[in-house]
């Protein structure tokens, strides 16, 4: 507690630290809430400027951007069906239908409050047990467990957002297949960078580096949504969303208290594991909320519990993601990888000794993340009352701006125009997939977890001497694989039951 107070005093006792804190908070929220750009764009742009900052200020800045950016992405997910980051994708499923019903204020209010609750809970857990948790996670989680967790996560999340189980799995598999483009994780052999069909051949150096997930995400969510709305406008079938300013009541929050608690646990656990991060946390939180909810049939149609589950889980992962970074030097995602870059720029090495050698840095970061989440409640409330007015601007005026931002965002990633082509092609594919009942979110989930899953699988096979039953020789991986298989079996049975029910209703 003393260390936390000291960190808070260091944060608010220095005008420079306060300015950086406020900049990170507002920057993260604005970039997170602007379709086409996200917190990674902001992080990449300001990374060079951190050279001139004190290391504790630079790390604190990025941790605040991380908290605020994950929250900000929920705004566009709810208002325009365009998630600011992949971890906000499940928020669309219920947030956007709520907007169409005129409950945008309620949805954003729930996202604000639950983001803050998830983030604060995660910050407290992070402060109380970073060393112990990091040690346990590393001992208990080898490649077998990472692969088993990804398998379990995909098994329970695959059908989210799709018309049926088959289409959900096909969406995820398409993402997994896209993720294989590039080099293989063991031998570094380029895959799919050259091809040949009917005597025609091609070779692409771009494909040797793999397809980056940012243009795909921008394409599947931002561009395909613009295409979808544009065709509706052209056909005269667009339903105009309504602005609503109501904040959720205390009763609304009390009703979803167990969902929040469950999502905090899921988010924190997923966030600790390097590479898994907030995306799987949000999908797992959403799927578990759907499984245990009394209002299960309302999910996907504007159920506030869906917004609560995904936003609590993805923010609960933010604090947890700092644990492997600070304690072990293992970044869990793109923004934490940038923080690794800051450590390197300043000649520091994160690891267990950082708590002894750079206590000030650690505790100002912890304090900043805690207070950033507290500020999100107030700023988020203000944003609820103001940002929903964006809905009053006709979408046909906003759409070209959204596309322009997406074009610049995709191009600026690697200064390659081909990334913009990938984005637009993904946009067309996303449009067609949505129209036919497939899940764009499923493709993105498969794409993000595909490389990590394959890498964990190859390492597991090498460690287990190519014995598939070896997964059951370790308790955690065995249980996760069995739970994943049970989830698939349960989904298939549910699908058949649904079919029978539909048949009975039709008879």
């Amino acid at each position: 507690m003393d260390l936390f107070i000291q960190g808070t005093l260091n944060l608010f006792g220095d005008w420079q630290a306060i300015s950086i804190f406020v900049f990170g908070l507002l920057g993260g929220m604005i970039f997170g809430a602007t379709p086409g750009v996200n917190m990674l764009t902001l992080g990449a742009v300001i990374l060079p400027f951190t050279v001139t900052m004190l290391p504790e200020h630079a790390i604190m800045l990025f941790s605040v951007i991380y908290c605020a950016g994950v929250f900000g992405g929920a705004i566009t997910a709810i208002l325009f069906n365009i998630p600011g980051a992949p971890e906000n994708a499940p928020t669309c499923f219920d947030g956007y239908p709520m907007t169409l019903r005129g409950e945008s204020g309620k949805a954003i209010g729930a996202a604000v409050s639950c983001s803050a609750i998830g983030g604060i809970a995660s910050a407290i857990l992070m402060m109380s047990a970073t060393g112990a948790i990091a040690g346990w996670a590393v001992r208990a989680f080898g490649p077998q467990e990472i692969f088993a967790l990804i398998f379990f996560g995909l098994a329970v999340s695959a059908s989210i957002g799709a018309e049926n189980l088959w289409k959900g799995w096909l969406s995820v598999l398409a993402g997994l297949l896209i993720a294989t483009i590039g080099t293989d994780p063991v031998g570094g052999i380029p895959r799919f960078n050259e091809g040949g069909l009917f005597g025609l051949t091609f070779k692409s150096y771009y494909l040797s580096a793999g397809i980056h997930f940012i243009p795909i995400i921008l394409g599947f969510f931002a561009v395909s949504e613009v295409f979808s709305q544009a065709t509706n406008i052209a056909m005269g079938t667009r339903v105009r969303p309504k602005a609503g300013l109501d904040f959720p009541s205390v009763v609304d929050f009390w009703r979803v208290r167990w969902t929040m608690l469950r999502s905090v646990a899921i988010g924190f656990f997923a966030g600790i594991l390097p590479g898994i991060g907030a995306t799987l946390a949000a999908f797992l939180g959403y799927s578990q909320a759907q499984r245990w909810s009394r209002n299960r049939p309302n999910f996907g149609k504007g159920e506030i519990e869906g917004v609560v589950a995904s936003e609590t889980a993805n923010n609960a992962a933010t604090g947890a993601a700092m644990i492997p970074l600070l304690a072990l030097g293992l970044p869990g995602g793109a923004l934490t990888a940038m923080m690794m870059g800051i450590f390197q720029i300043h000649g520091m090495e994160p690891g267990p000794l950082i708590f002894i050698n750079s206590g000030d840095l650690v505790w100002i970061t912890f304090a900043a993340m805690f207070w950033a989440n507290v500020c999100i409640v107030f700023l988020g409330w203000l944003q609820t009352k103001t940002v929903v007015h964006l809905l009053r601007i006709p979408f046909r005026w906003l759409a070209p701006g959204i596309l322009m931002l997406a074009i610049v965002g995709a191009y600026a990633l690697r200064n390659l125009f081909i990334d913009v082509w990938v984005m637009f092609l993904a946009g067309i594919a996303g449009y067609l997939l949505r129209r036919t009942g497939y899940s764009a979110a499923g493709v993105v989930l498969g794409l993000i977890l595909g490389k990590l899953g394959e890498s964990a699988f190859t390492k597991s096979m090498q460690l287990m001497d190519y014995d598939f039953l070896g997964f059951f020789g370790r308790p955690v991986s065995g249980v996760l694989i069995l739970m994943g298989m049970a989830a698939i079996a349960f989904s298939i049975i549910s699908e058949f039951r649904k079919r029978d029910r539909d048949a009975d209703a039709g008879a």
């Binding site: 742009v45 049926n164 088959w166 289409k167 799995w169 096909l170 598999l173 398409a174 997994l176 297949l177 294989t180 293989d184 063991v186 031998g187 052999i189 380029p190 895959r191 799919f192 050259e194 091809g195 040949g196 069909l197 561009v223 295409f227 544009a230 065709t231 406008i233 052209a234 056909m235 979408f395 046909r396 005026w397 759409a399 070209p400 701006g401 596309l403 322009m404 931002l405 610049v408 191009y411 600026a412 125009f417 913009v420 082509w421 637009f424 946009g427 449009y431 036919t436 394959e454 699988f457 190859t458 096979m461 090498q462 190519y466 079919r499 029978d500 539909d502 048949a503 039709g506 008879a507």
Partner: protein, 184 residues
């Protein structure tokens, strides 16, 4: 009995095309794995096992999905709610196609003529495709979006967007950048 006209609200032909696309994709990608089928000394399964396994599961999933739709049609014994396709006019169809084709044409032209020169035309074209017809709105929205892009990405963040490969247009793009950064 399966209604040959519609299954789950879409035509049987549509379902068959969907199946063919998935099988075609899986088959095509599987066939391409042969081009990098090399041994890796430290990994028995090589570079191809993972993508090939995914291709096989995609093919099985596509067949499962098709069978599921068939069972759905058999189980319900109805026409699945009738043919829900909207038969629009040719002009509507052309508009929908234009929404997808226009950005691709712009993507082809932008690296050649430069982003800064072509961006306002892209915004204007998208606005027209989205049925904005008022000259004032067309001009105002284009000007605001273009000004914001120049201000944020060119003046403040120094993002190096394409300036064109054709000399005359290259010069114009560089001049626009110069104007956007006046006073810096």
């Amino acid at each position: 009995m399966i209604d040959l006209r519609t299954v789950d609200g879409r035509s049987l032909g549509g379902q068959l095309i969907e199946l063919a696309i998935w099988l075609g994709l899986a088959g095509l990608m599987y066939s391409q794995t042969g081009l990098f089928d090399r041994e890796i000394p430290e990994y028995l399964f090589g570079a191809t096992s993972w993508p090939r396994a995914i291709c096989i599961v995609i093919a099985l999933g596509a067949i499962g999905q098709f069978a599921h739709q068939m069972l759905l049609a058999t189980g319900s014994g109805t026409d699945g709610g009738g043919d829900r396709r909207v038969r629009g006019r040719t002009i509507d169809f052309a508009k929908r196609i234009a929404i997808f084709v226009f950005p691709l044409i712009w993507l082809f032209l932008a690296p050649r003529f430069g982003f800064y020169l072509t961006a306002p035309f892209f915004v204007l074209g998208m606005l027209l495709l989205m049925e904005v017809r008022s000259p004032f709105n067309l001009f105002a929205v284009t000007a605001v979006v273009y000004a914001l892009v120049l201000l944020i990405f060119t003046r403040f963040f120094f993002v190096a967007l394409p300036v064109g490969r054709i000399q005359a247009f290259y010069d114009v793009n560089v001049a626009i950048i110069g104007i956007a950064r006046l006073g810096i």
